[in-house]
Symmetry: C4
Subunit: 357 residues, 4 copies
């Protein structure tokens, strides 16, 4: 499930291949004995240019899901962007978090609900807000379907029985009311509810994001506002006009529209279009710290990882996530040294070369 | 048999690879909550930009062959282009059809027969006519030969015995008179007559199509006239001069001349040469609805599928074809939503990018 | 042995890949009902643009080696270019041949021997002469070495025993006198003398070809003179100055210098440099008639096949070679029809497109 | 261990692929009967343009390590560049060497130690000195880690016991004093000290090379001075200003920063930047003599081999190295003959063509 993507999984593959086509050009004889991997995102210092992507799959990987992830991110000195699709309410995650949190919003049904939601997010102390624009509908996740990770078609006795342990939650879920407020509590203990099912439920009821929504959210949200899922440079200008502060070049890990390019392929044109008027981030295909450095050389401020920390989460919970982040930090530190970089500010396009596809 | 192509099957492979080299560029924040996959071909509305290609292989896949295909196409709201090479006479197919039909003509021996044929096709209510130009002779289908799908070399007792159940048909077949009029009836029940054999028979006796034929057919046929099998843009102009209404970029599924490019590779140059003076279609390598959208982005009006519905036909007859068409419709609907398209009119080249071969 | 090439066998692979990167662009609506595959090479009509390459491997494939090949070539209406390295003397091959022969010369030690050799070749009725220029030394045929196909290092009792059946031949062979005149007779019956060994022997004693040799041969040989093994266009001019009539673009089937390009990659630049002042041929990688048509579209007059007929020879002797030539003829005839060609004169570069490597 | 590289081993793979993308363009009819593979490096004649790269892995491959390598190199008439990381002291290697030696320096902690070191190297008769610039820290050698080739984390009884046989060495090693002077003697007989461990130890304590170091070494070292590990042409100018005599384009065999290009990809731009003001060498991916010729055609003076001779060393000690060098010599001789080269001075870019990546 953590592995699966949409359709023929071409975009997922291209996310990786894009990185492999970029080579490094190290600068020698720089005194790298003192160097730092830290950087700033919207004024916030983080320990390395890697943040934790929102995902609805946490619960499948580990019982305490987002709670563990938030704590590990804080310990590692970086930011966790929490998803709307979670096993735990956003306030509970915020309470245990040991570092800054961002919030990835799937828009609720009405402007009123949106405003309430933003108030909750803000009150809980989330620093930045991201609107995901690549989920007008749910992607074609064939591997998930093969593995029966989907909303139960029929109400089975087992589902009813398990539902008894959390009657309110189950009732809403079965009624198809997947709004975060209705499903605020934890799901029944033994209900093997797939993240795909939950996410599909949430997205199915998401109000299609419109330019009016962007305007409204921008009005109500006073922190940094990001747009996640941009894959065309020519769409950036309008978002900038609406006052957006950042972009996440993302193809949803190849899990929405199969056939889009790898995100690192699209990054340069977005960076060029944005021209410094917003920060640009990337997710998709980041597996090593070297990949983060490549994205930075092409103009990203930082990257998000998803699958790597989910693997750590599934393997060893909070400690697993922490270990994965340590490995990524080690990669970045080592790569900086070998490239001749003391700070990430020194990186530019001269440190890499991109081969043609 | 349904899988096989000509020679080293390079063209068949390139049909697929051509689609894989095209990536999508989704447009965000379009309100796609109301969208339609329907489009128009020669003024006829169809439910989606996917039509059913002519094939002689229906009988091998399913007993009721074209009858089932025609019914499934009509139920799905799209067009079936019937082949000259069929198990059932064109009138019988037309009688059971629940939607519009087109006819793909292999030219008979003489202008007189051609005229009679066109009269039959017209009288039966077929809406458009297509002349296939890539079968001056039969291709080199090695896999079929390995699987012994060819015209029987000798008249075996079994063939004679089976022939007894349909003596007239068999007599004509054995005499080598493969003209549609001679073979109008159904073949003997147990005769495992391969489509390759039948098609080879028909093609073997096709009068080589000439420009005179095109002129004559254009004179006699009052509906839309298509040329199927175009693979060079520089040949379009003359066809347009002769009053052709549409082109099908096709390499016969890679089953005629091995070594031709993939059809999606050739589509752009044909679209450019035609410059809106005719509708351009494509067949070859379309396996998902995403492929149809890619072809439309490069200028096609619609595409044809062959193998996918034959697989459905072989698996579950009419229901199987219907299911395949539903899947394709679902793909197209989902891809439109994820690309930010409400109608197919909105699609243009900005939604895709083509990587070099 | 018939499969092996030099080093990592990169050039052998590139010979094939070069053809696969060329696609066809068929011209429709040509009346191809009357068509011919015949063509002319130096005024001689041949049944198809495929000739039989010289090879020293015949004896390993089949007892009667060149005798069978020469007869099959004649029956098929095409030309066999015989190698200096053969199991049978050139006069014996000429006596049984049923069609025109060409001769591929490895230069003997002295001008005098060369002149004698040319007199023999001419007297025996060979029509054209080819000088091979890519064998100043023997290539690095690792697969042959692994399979122990090399000159025996030591004189073993078995070699001596077998040698008794043909004492003169063996004596010369063991003495290292590999000149054709010394080894004129047949080798001992049971001596498993590999073609590699024989060829290595001949080449080892070949006088390095110089410009003086070309001048002398041109003076003494009154028929068409070819240069075989050209792989650089910039070397053609000087050969033309010396009165050469034809070039064979060849990398010795990838068996001499590994790492040279595929021959079909080099063909266009040679054709351009020669600019019609000589005929250009190609060998290397031709496996189907389609390949011959591709080479002709890029400017070749005809091609040579090696391995394909050796496989036929190994499988079924003369009949096997004949069958292979029939298949190639069928390919060419079918490809011409499907491309819209009535004669080979009509072919030009517009019928193909070359993808980048 | 001899096989392993850093990270995903992409750079190691690209070293090879770079050579495979280069094809040869042989020049015919050159009289290559008299030819020589010898060349000159800094005025020193060597038997072929292949030298032996420094490596710390010798001890793992063979007990007598550098002693055997130095002797084999001398017998083969070429140069061995000895590493700072060795099983035997530089003086002992120099004493047994039968040919010229170069020295590859990892800089010690202080200028004073550096000066002492240079005095030792000079006194021992090493002809040229190379400073490695791609090891500011140790690379990410995952395969080595998987195989437990790393510095022991804890002092085990076994380590202590084994250490008793060479107490001084062990004491320094355990104290973490890895400087060559401290570890001058041989390590304890049974201590399975991996080259990775030793090299890691040395590098861990190397003073980061600075421009001041280059200036100082240049002042103190009167022989030819090389910079090893250059991978960016734009850095050459400054080195030339500091009086450097040669560059080794090297990515440390792909064992330092994974993701750098293949060295043969970078060679042309370095050659162009240097513009004849220094000699340019290459290591990385050279497996056959053909590769050396390709590098020379692109402007290198000679190349270094590493893994090939280590395999020979592991298989058969000094004889194994000698055999590998004979094979490489044979490759070069044969390739020169087949390309039409009598001397290496005749080679230029016209003999190769580079395909795009």
């Amino acid at each position: 499930m953590l592995d699966g993507a949409a359709g023929d999984e071409i975009s997922s593959r291209r996310n990786r291949e894009g990185f492999e086509r970029i080579t490094f050009r190290p600068r020698p004889l720089v005194d790298v004995s003192k160097r730092t991997t830290s950087t700033h995102v919207f004024g916030q210092e983080i320990s390395m240019p890697v943040m934790l992507a929102p995902t609805g799959a946490g619960r499948l990987a580990y019982r305490y899901a987002e709670l563990a992830v938030a704590k590990a991110a804080g310990e590692a000195g970086t930011i966790y962007m929490q998803s709307t699709v979670t096993a735990f309410p956003l306030e509970e995650v915020a309470r245990v978090a040991t570092g800054p949190l961002w919030y990835q919003l799937y828009l609720p049904h009405s402007p009123k609900e949106t405003e309430e939601m933003l108030n909750r997010v803000s009150a809980a102390g989330y620093k930045a807000l991201s609107i995901t624009i690549d989920t007008p509908i749910f992607g074609n996740r064939e591997r998930d379907r093969h593995n029966r990770l989907s909303i139960p078609q029929r109400i089975t006795p087992r589902l009813v029985f398990e539902g008894m342990t959390r009657p309110a939650w189950t009732a809403e879920f079965i009624r198809g009311n997947f709004s975060p407020s209705a499903l605020r509590g934890r799901p029944p203990k033994n209900l093997r509810l797939s993240s795909t099912a939950t996410q599909q439920a949430i997205i199915a009821t998401q109000w299609p994001v419109t330019w009016d929504d962007v305007r409204r959210v921008r009005e109500w949200w006073h922190g940094p506002l990001l747009i996640k899922g941009i894959m065309r440079a020519d769409e950036c200008e309008q978002f900038l006009d609406y006052g957006v502060d950042g972009f996440v070049v993302s193809n949803h890990g190849g899990r929405q529209l199969d056939g889009v390019p790898g995100t690192i392929e699209v990054l340069p044109e977005v960076v060029e279009a944005v021209a410094g008027r917003a920060q640009v981030f990337l997710d998709g295909g980041v597996r090593r710290g070297e990949d983060a450095i490549k994205a930075l050389a092409l103009g990203a401020t930082a990257v998000f990882v998803g699958r790597p920390y989910l693997y750590g989460l599934a393997a060893a919970g909070q400690e697993g996530v922490k270990r994965v982040l340590e490995l990524l930090h080690g990669d970045i530190d080592r790569t900086m040294a070998l490239l001749g970089l003391r700070t990430l500010d020194e990186i530019d396009g001269s440190f890499v070369r991109v081969s043609a596809h």
